[in-house]
């Protein structure tokens, strides 16, 4: 049984990857949302928001030249947040494809076969991580194309990649559970909505210190904020402090709880009866 756990997980991962290859539109859609948001935030709001960061002369009366500098500063500031929006948004696709898969009769077939426990879910989680990383690569390419330049070194970039992988594992695991918990594909497409909103209510787009009381408290204590701060530090050299460790702890915690929840839901999945 356990000797086959790895082989079965690889088989299930291959199933996810093949589907991804055959239907690339979901991956492109997942990459598309952060790209559009990035262009929106940088080119529409960036001049003013960048001025608000206090790195240059100021939005009012600063003129066209200053707006350009502000925009570049904002681009550097916002890219980590955009990357996390991409990771969080990918969870949507994960929940939907899990919910769709669970309504397919093939899952009942898997459950009557002597295959390793959890390999079906592991295939979904790993497949979703790969999809998230592909989408992230597209977002990074667009960011570089519009002028984003990380100021840190290759080791930091490697660490940043690791952090994104970890975040993707946490989001994917949680969203596999959300997909299993949903009793319809519609529910599955709504329930991860909060994940897409969370990065906005943190330090990704504007400093949390500019927010009013309770919102500020929330922004400073929610998981995306340490992730965002650590990622920003690893990309443009802002101070990281304790946020790195906190970010890793959040990811591991969410992934572990998500996995336990998902396995329980999978074991108790009702059997669909034909009409």
């Amino acid at each position: 049984m356990t000797a086959h756990a790895l082989a079965d997980t690889v088989t299930m991962l291959r199933r996810s990857l093949r589907r991804m290859r055959r239907y690339p539109s979901l991956t492109l859609f997942i990459a598309g949302i952060p790209v559009v948001l990035m262009l929106l935030f940088v080119y529409v709001f960036g001049g003013t928001l960048g001025a608000g960061l206090g790195s240059s002369g100021g939005a009012l009366g600063g003129g066209a030249a200053n707006a350009g500098l502000d925009r570049d500063a904002y681009l550097a500031y916002v890219v980590p947040g955009i990357l996390l929006i991409g990771v969080a948004g990918a969870g949507h696709g994960t929940a939907i494809s899990v919910a769709m898969d669970m309504t397919a009769g093939i899952i009942a077939r898997f459950r009557t076969m002597a295959i390793a426990r959890g390999s079906v879910l592991a295939g979904h989680i790993l497949g979703s991580v790969v999809q998230t990383l592909l989408a992230t690569v597209i977002v990074v390419i667009v960011a570089l194309a519009i002028g984003f330049r990380p100021t840190t070194g290759p080791l930091d970039w490697l660490a940043a990649t690791g952090l994104i992988v970890l975040a993707a594992v946490a989001v994917s695991t949680l969203c596999v559970a959300l997909g299993l918990a949903a009793n319809s594909v519609e529910t599955a497409s709504n329930s991860p909505m909060f994940l897409t909103l969370l990065p906005f209510l943190g330090s990704g787009f504007v400093p949390a210190s500019t927010m009013p009381g309770p919102l500020r408290w929330f922004a400073e204590n929610q998981p995306f904020t340490p992730l965002n701060e650590a990622l920003r530090g690893l990309l443009i050299g802002t101070p990281i402090g304790g946020t790195g460790l906190l970010a890793v702890a959040w990811c591991v915690g969410v992934a572990a709880l998500g996995l336990i929840w998902a396995l329980r839901l999978y074991e108790r999945l009702p059997v669909r009866v034909g009409g």
């Binding site: 397919a104 093939i106 009557t112 059997v271 034909g274």
Partner: protein, 323 residues
């Protein structure tokens, strides 16, 4: 594997199986014995509990009470050992719509840990056996329902299961796919595989099954070979057609004791349980004596529908009453 295959006892052994969903009792104390290498048909109307029984036997659902051994293994205590012996083709299509037929079968080969060469050989053999070679490399979502159903069974056979469960295998199938299904079931039994199938079509259970259990509202109301079950009812029916309403009226009076069914529109009378030669002669003599002119006589041998009707008071195609 060999130890599990040479189980001396019955392939399926069930005692006192009960299952309820919320307040409704679906299986109300069922006993079953299915010998290895035979076909067993669980026959019953919609809602009789057939699918629930299959789901319990295939480890998808836990029973509330009772003992269930499949291949000599307890389904509750050792589900994985049972899963190694069985294959299920359920009512809901269990194929991956987005992949091709070959990909679906190779997925099964991988999950059974067949080597690459062995897996490919087996997949190719199954595609041929199920008449699916031409469509093999097209996505399954472009296939017809009958082809998908055949692929479904082919996927079940990749792992070479010793006990196969088929839940209404031919429901909604075209004649060609239905014939392929029947042929395969016959072949499998020839190879020593045990086939447990459910159906609501009486004629289907009549053909390939060596034993039949009639399930009605969660209980088994009859059990035996098709011939044994047919012996439970007096035998067949006779349909008499008349030239006029007056003759029909007169004839109905003559045979009143046999509970005839009148068909006013076609001036016909159907009498159950009068299919035997002697009974038929007596019937015609009585009509003759009463000067009733019979235009045509059709004799129908007893079938499982008669068994069902006489045991449950309903035709096999009717819904079971809600408990």
């Amino acid at each position: 594997m060999s130890a599990q295959r040479s189980t001396a006892g019955p392939a399926i052994w069930v005692r006192g199986l009960r299952k309820s969903f919320e307040k409704s009792v679906v299986l109300d104390g069922i006993d079953l014995d299915v010998d290895a290498g035979t076909v067993f048909a669980l026959l019953g109307p919609n809602g009789a509990g057939k699918t629930t029984a299959i789901h319990i036997l295939t480890t998808l659902l836990a029973p509330d009470a009772g003992e269930v051994l499949v291949g000599g293994v307890d389904v509750v205590r050792h589900p994985d050992a049972v899963r190694r012996l069985i294959g299920l083709t359920g009512q809901v299509s269990a194929v991956d719509q987005q992949f091709t037929g070959t990909e679906n079968l190779l997925l099964m080969a991988d999950l059974h840990h067949l080597g690459r060469a062995e897996g490919r050989a087996r997949v190719h053999g199954l595609l041929e056996r199920f008449d699916l070679v031409a469509a093999a490399d097209r996505p399954v979502q472009t296939w017809s329902g009958g082809m998908r159903r055949r692929l479904d069974l082919a996927m079940t056979l990749v792992g070479d299961p010793r006990i196969i469960f088929l839940d209404e295998p031919t429901t909604g199938l075209d004649p060609r796919s239905r014939r392929v299904m029947h042929d395969i079931v016959r072949e499998l039994v020839g190879e020593g595989v045990t086939v447990f199938l459910t159906t609501q079509y009486l004629d289907e259970a009549d053909r390939p099954a060596s034993r039949i259990a009639l399930l009605d509202a969660g209980r088994i109301v009859a059990l035996g070979t098709p011939a044994e079950l047919k012996r439970l009812v007096p035998g067949g029916s006779v349909r008499l057609e008349f030239g006029s309403a007056a003759d029909l009226e007169q004839a109905a009076r003559v045979v009143d004791g046999n509970g005839p069914v009148r068909d006013e529109a076609s001036l016909a009378l159907e009498i159950r349980g009068e299919g035997g030669v002697h009974a038929l002669r007596t019937l015609l003599d009585r009509l003759d004596a009463a000067s009733v002119k019979v235009e045509a006589v059709t004799v129908r041998a007893a079938d499982l529908d008669d068994v069902f009707l006489s045991l449950t008071g309903r035709s096999g195609s009717q819904e079971a009453p809600k408990p």
